[in-house]
């Protein structure tokens, strides 16, 4: 770096897309921009904001649960808190942040200039702030936010004691419906892009695993969300227009809602976890310097998960008066899910086996995520077993299990992805030291937070209660300390993101010596990635240590990066 002042043409500062090496024009993130890379960062930044909101709600709840009686907040408020915590974390944090990664990663990874439908993409994004505001506004309406849990089971969710048309539950359904529309538009876009816009030579079995898993996850969105939408419309009609879909007194059936809800909302977990499996599959080969073990099987297993995910939903209803034959059937299908996921886990372990592990923050988060996922997988198989589920259903054991999935696996994967690709899409390096502090705190806090929940659940502590029996006190105090530590752990993370983006070291095109089309682009990539000079893919991905080039004429693409 020379010490001479750097001069820019002022037009660069107003560019609607990033220009490699130039200061970022942050204003473009507040416009209706159709560039997938801008939309990706918009999604991720706003989703991280909602992570803080959801985390704050969680810490208030854990504050309440420090002591057995309901002394900090009113139990009614507590009901609203857990409902909103779940809704915010799923619909305003995880779905959007993963859509952000789809936007950032899919086009560069397949050599496409942008999404298939850029305007539709921007439209789908701008629904996110809309339903975010609607959901947050429900804190301000009379009667407070929705309080029937994130499942919104009737008859609890169809109560409207104040008789107002606009109530917390109404806004909740509205927000979820808009989120659903946005997700379907996004899914159409992602699927079309992956199916039709791959670089020359990139057949299905040269597609990076992240794109496989994104396609699988979006297939679930397309298959499951319509069913949830149908259920949500019926619920809205019951709540607001006096229909009887789920009211027994009018001939309706509340169980049907549970079927509709879980038909989508169980696969929804796979919508979130599949892209994270993609992150793991991308990250391990880079930092183990080995090809991904069993690439074909790992790719196909994603769709095995899709198929199975659509026939497991009744395991959430084992204690809802489900007939015995259904319990048996869905116990078996649920356990079968362990096969494709197990295949993936073994493939990752085999990838790491005897590799030269480079323990960057991204690698640490990915390994920590897989570690936690194995634990969550074991408790998942336990919960799939009808006798165990009848015993621990609706206890903290379930809460512990899915937080180990949602946070300790999925959010760990998201963190890993941020540390891995931040340099590529911002052009700045994150500080590794702060990153490792973040990892260490998060890993310890997650165990402290979620492990005692399993214990409390096995002892019989029910979920969704503001007050509990004193015998559960120790487990709850530990979990609460873990939750507060988790809150503290985000401080180095946020500090790292902001300070690195503002004044971090400039990132080279390929800081991790990774193999992949996105690493043949400058950091950050220009507006249309390769534009008209799309490379021809000539070999399978993850060719670490094999010595053959990924694309035809690779030297030319690399030389161009050297010039820049």
């Amino acid at each position: 770096m020379s010490t001479a002042p750097i001069r820019f043409d002022p037009r660069v500062l107003r560019a609607p897309h990033p220009v490699p090496g130039a200061p970022d024009n942050w204003r473009r993130f507040f416009t209706f921009n159709t560039d997938a890379k801008v939309i990706g960062i918009q999604y991720i930044a706003l989703a991280l904001l909602f992570l803080l909101v959801g985390g704050l709600l969680a810490m208030i709840m854990r504050g309440e649960l420090l002591t057995p009686p309901a002394d900090l907040i009113d139990p009614t408020v507590y009901n609203g808190l857990y409902t909103m915590h779940g809704t915010v974390m799923l619909f305003l944090f995880l779905f959007p942040i993963l859509n952000g990664f789809n936007n950032l990663l899919i086009p560069p990874m397949i050599g496409a200039p942008d999404m298939a439908f850029p305007r539709l993409n921007a439209l789908a994004f701008w629904m996110f702030p809309l339903f975010g505001v609607i959901l947050m506004a429900s804190f301000l309406v009379p009667g407070g936010p929705a309080s029937s849990g994130w499942w919104a089971y009737p008859p609890l969710s169809t109560q409207n004691p104040l008789g107002l048309l606009v109530n917390g539950q109404f806004l909740w359904i509205l927000a979820v419906a808009i989120s659903g529309v946005s997700s379907i538009l996004g899914a159409v876009n992602f699927c079309t892009t992956i199916m039709r816009m791959r670089a020359p030579g990139m057949g299905w079995f040269r597609l990076p695993i992240f794109c496989w898993t994104a396609l699988a996850a979006q297939t679930i969105q397309l298959a499951g969300l319509p069913v949830l939408t149908a259920g949500a419309v019926m619920l809205l009609f019951d709540l607001s227009f006096g229909t009887s879909f789920f009211r027994p007194e009018g001939g309706g059936d509340p169980m049907l809602y549970q079927h509709f809800f879980w038909f989508y909302s169980h696969p929804a977990v796979y919508v979130m976890v599949l892209p994270v499996f993609g992150f793991f599959s991308e990250i391990f080969p880079v930092y183990a310097r080995k090809p991904l073990f069993g690439y074909h099987v790992v790719a196909i297993a994603s769709f095995g998960i899709v198929l199975l995910s659509l026939i497991v939903w009744v395991h959430h209803m084992f204690t809802s008066g489900t007939p015995q034959w259904m319990r048996h059937l869905f116990m078996v299908t649920t356990m079968l899910i362990a096969v494709p996921t197990g295949i993936k886990v073994f493939a990752w372990l085999a990838t790491l086996w005897r590799g030269k592990l480079w323990l960057t923050t991204a690698m640490l988060f990915a390994m920590g995520g897989v570690f936690n996922f194995i634990f969550a997988g074991i408790t998942g198989v336990m919960l799939a077993t009808v006798p165990v589920d009848v015993h621990v259903g609706n206890t903290y054991f379930v809460v512990g299990h899915f937080h180990t999935v949602i946070f300790s696996t999925i959010t760990f994967g998201v963190y890993a992805a941020i540390y891995h690709w931040f340099a590529k899409f911002t052009g700045r390096m994150l500080y590794e030291g702060l990153g490792k502090v973040h990892f260490l705190l998060t890993f310890l806090a997650a165990q402290l937070n979620f492990l005692p929940m399993h214990w409390a659940g096995l002892m019989g502590m029910p979920r969704r209660v503001a007050a509990y029996d004193p015998e559960f006190a120790l487990a709850n105090v530990l979990a609460s300390l873990g939750a507060f530590l988790l809150g503290v752990a985000t401080i180095p993370f946020l500090l790292n993101l902001v300070s690195s983006w503002v004044r971090g070291a400039r990132a080279p095109a390929n800081p991790w010596q990774a193999i992949g089309l996105e690493w043949l682009l400058p950091s950050p990539p220009p507006a249309e990635n390769f534009e008209h000079d799309v490379p021809t893919v000539i070999s399978a991905p993850y060719g670490y240590g094999l010595g053959h080039p990924l694309v035809a004429d690779q030297e030319r693409y690399e030389a161009r990066l050297q010039e820049a």
């Binding site: 750097i6 820019f8 043409d9 037009r11 660069v12 560019a15 609607p16 897309h17 220009v19 490699p20 090496g21 130039a22 159709t34 942008d114 298939a116 439908f117 850029p118 305007r119 539709l120 993409n121 439209l123 899914a187 159409v188 699927c191 079309t192 199916m195 039709r196 816009m197 397309l222 298959a223 969300l225 319509p226 069913v227 939408t229 149908a230 419309v233 019926m234 009609f237 227009f241 006096g242 229909t243 009887s244 879909f245 009018g250 001939g251 309706g252 059936d253 509709f260 038909f263 400058p522 220009p526 507006a527 249309e528 390769f530 534009e531 008209h532 000079d533 161009r560 010039e563 820049a564």
Partner: protein, 231 residues
């Protein structure tokens, strides 16, 4: 140093800034040479927004949309077979004659739409407009007939699970018919733009597909609601 910061790496032969100023933007004119005009569906984009992509995206969307109907049909079947209270008191069943005429009009409009598409394929723009307008008229007839039926019915949305199902199913389908007619109006308007269909008729194909979809849904709906009346 400064020059390299200005983005010398945006591509071979790129001049950094001039290119930026020239607007190498997603909507750049030079990046959409082979894009057909009739792709108003699903937010067409500049680069990469080929008609083929639009059709792919639209078919994916329709497949997903059909599952909403599948879910609603499933709910209807479950309720009809298991609900202890079905028809509201005083209601014997649904009148079939007029809905049947409506059904025949809607189903045959699919054939008319096909004739319109064929005319466009053969570059007979006048005939296309004629058949297309007839399809729109038949669709509108269906919606009006549906509205007439709604107003004459002795039960409402809040009358038990039957009333709720009837109005939700027919209303949701009716919204699709109205959307279809509006989309056809848009395509008709586009047909008056010179040279609009030179590169293909992806928009018309997509709307035609949508119309057949709406028809097929109605056939299932008619069978479930009107033909399967005894329990």
């Amino acid at each position: 140093m400064a020059e390299s910061l200005l983005g010398g790496s945006t591509g071979p032969g790129s001049g950094g800034l001039p290119e930026l100023a020239a607007g190498r933007h997603p909507e750049g004119p030079e990046s959409r040479p082979d894009e057909p005009g009739g792709n108003s569906l699903g937010g067409h984009g500049g680069h990469g927004g080929h008609g083929g992509h639009n059709l792919t995206g639209f078919v994916i969307f329709l497949a997903s949309e059909s599952l909403i109907f599948a879910a609603l049909f499933a709910a209807y079947i479950v309720f009809k077979r298991s609900s202890p209270l079905w028809l509201p008191p005083g209601v014997e069943g649904l009148e079939v004659r007029e809905p049947l005429i409506n059904t025949l009009v809607l189903v045959s409009s699919s054939g008319v739409a096909w004739l319109a598409e064929r005319a466009l394929h053969r570059r007979q723009l006048g005939r296309f407009r004629l058949w297309w307008l007839l399809t729109m008229a038949m669709g509108s007839w269906f919606v009006l007939g549906q509205a007439r039926e709604w107003m004459g019915l002795p039960f409402g949305l809040a009358d038990g699970v039957f009333g709720a199902c009837f109005y939700l199913l027919t209303g949701f389908h009716g919204l699709h018919v109205i959307s279809g007619v509006l989309l056809m109006a848009l395509m008709l308007w586009r047909s008056f733009q010179p040279g609009n269909y030179d590169g293909g008729e992806a928009g018309v194909t997509a709307v035609g597909l949508f119309w057949h979809f709406v028809d097929v849904i109605w056939i299932v709906l008619f069978a479930l609601l009107y033909l399967w009346q005894d329990r």
